[in-house]
């Protein structure tokens, strides 16, 4: 570079100021991991999420500073779950292992048999209307026990609202931790489950509930 250059030469070298894509991609990925750590440490994000492996498939867990706000099953599309959180909570959503650590540990302990109740705080902002009462009552159903849609309706003082109770349970944004899988049809049939009946059965079996085959 000691001799003078033609202008094509100069513009060609200037192109070289941009680093190669492959190397930049790795460096940018490392930089954004550091960024996420800083952000979590300074509470700048409104929602943190992570995908956790479990015996009933991957679970997307999302937390806010108030607590666990969403648990998504593997067959719920990630983009839909995150899109809903962006609309209803905040678009300031970041992936973070650290911020979801407590929830993931409790879920692990639940699945491996050491935990019969969750201590993690719950953020109920995705729960609206009658579902608030229904899911609050559902949280009181202990590990290994079941109730029915009708009983739950009676417990919230709306004995004729079994169907509305079923719908409210189906809209549970925080399954497993709010144990809507413990609610069965009168007579012992499984009823419904947003995560699919196979998962409901698996969770109940894990809790030692013997199911009546229909």
């Amino acid at each position: 570079m000691t001799k003078s250059r033609s202008s094509e030469d100069l513009t060609r070298v200037l192109r070289g100021l941009a680093p190669p894509r492959a190397a930049a991609r790795a460096a940018a990925s490392a930089a954004s991991t550091r960024f996420a750590e800083t952000v979590m440490a300074t509470n700048l994000a409104d929602v943190a999420f992570w995908t956790a492996a479990s015996p009933i498939g991957d679970l997307l867990v999302a937390v806010t500073p108030k607590g666990l706000v969403r648990v998504g099953f593997a067959d719920e599309p990630r983009d839909e779950v995150l899109g809903e959180l962006a609309r209803e909570v905040s678009p300031r959503i970041l992936e973070s292992a650290a911020a979801t650590d407590e929830v993931r540990r409790e879920l692990d302990e639940y699945f491996t048999g050491g935990r019969i109740r969750f201590d993690v705080k719950v953020d109920r902002r995705l729960i609206h209307g009658i579902a608030r009462e229904v899911l609050t009552a559902t949280r009181r159903v202990p590990f290994g026990r079941t109730t029915t849609y009708g009983e739950l309706a009676a417990r919230i003082g709306k004995p004729k609202a079994a169907r509305a109770v079923g719908n409210a349970l189906g809209s549970n944004p925080i399954p497993i931790v709010i144990p809507c899988h413990r609610v069965l049809r009168t007579g012992g049939a499984l009823g419904g489950y947003a995560g699919g009946l196979a998962r409901k059965e698996r969770l109940l079996t894990l809790e030692g509930v013997s199911l009546r085959r229909s």
């Binding site: 070289g16 894509r21 952000v39 995150l82 959180l85």
Partner: protein, 163 residues
């Protein structure tokens, strides 16, 4: 339901970050040098995150974040220029993780680092990333004419420095 013609919903920040981190990083390496790109990257995305819920044009997020990055690069150069120590981009290259230009490129980096900040940025946008003058004007918050002038002054100065 969204109104017809209303802009698309803002994507989750994580997806925005994943889509834009590499272009922003590449721009910043060229704009402030490999040694300082990371700091400017952090500042760019922290600013973006703070302002994110107020974003209205979800389709233009790539340009929006590059505008922020351009501003951070300028702030960075201004802060440096207030310090007595000269810019060290060429030396920073020695332990830069990303970009290991051949030894022959060191004079180019030194020359680019010696440009006035706005000229350096304009030259980088134009010649390292092939952006149009209209785009550069948008990213740097100036007129197209000013963008053009900054590019040509910068290129002329580089040619003189490297002659």
């Amino acid at each position: 339901m969204r109104q017809p013609g209303a802009s698309a919903p803002i994507p989750p920040f994580q997806d925005f970050l994943a889509a834009n981190r590499t272009p922003v990083y590449r721009f910043l390496v060229a704009a402030v040098g490999p040694g300082d790109a990371d700091d400017c990257f952090q500042e760019t995305f922290v600013s973006a995150l703070k302002a994110y819920p107020r974003v209205t044009e979800a389709e233009r997020l790539d340009r929006w974040v590059l505008t922020i990055a351009s501003r951070k690069a300028l702030d960075h150069h201004r802060a440096r220029n207030r310090q007595p120590i000269p810019t060290q981009d060429a030396l920073d290259l020695a332990d830069a993780p990303v970009h290991q230009p051949a030894d022959g490129d060191a004079p180019l980096w030194a020359a680019v680092a010696a440009l006035p900040p706005r000229q350096r940025l304009a030259v980088v946008h134009r010649h390292a990333f092939d952006r149009s003058y209209a785009e550069i004007a948008g990213l740097m918050g100036c007129t197209e004419q000013t963008a053009r002038a900054n590019v040509s002054l910068g290129v002329r100065a580089l040619r003189e420095m490297m002659a």
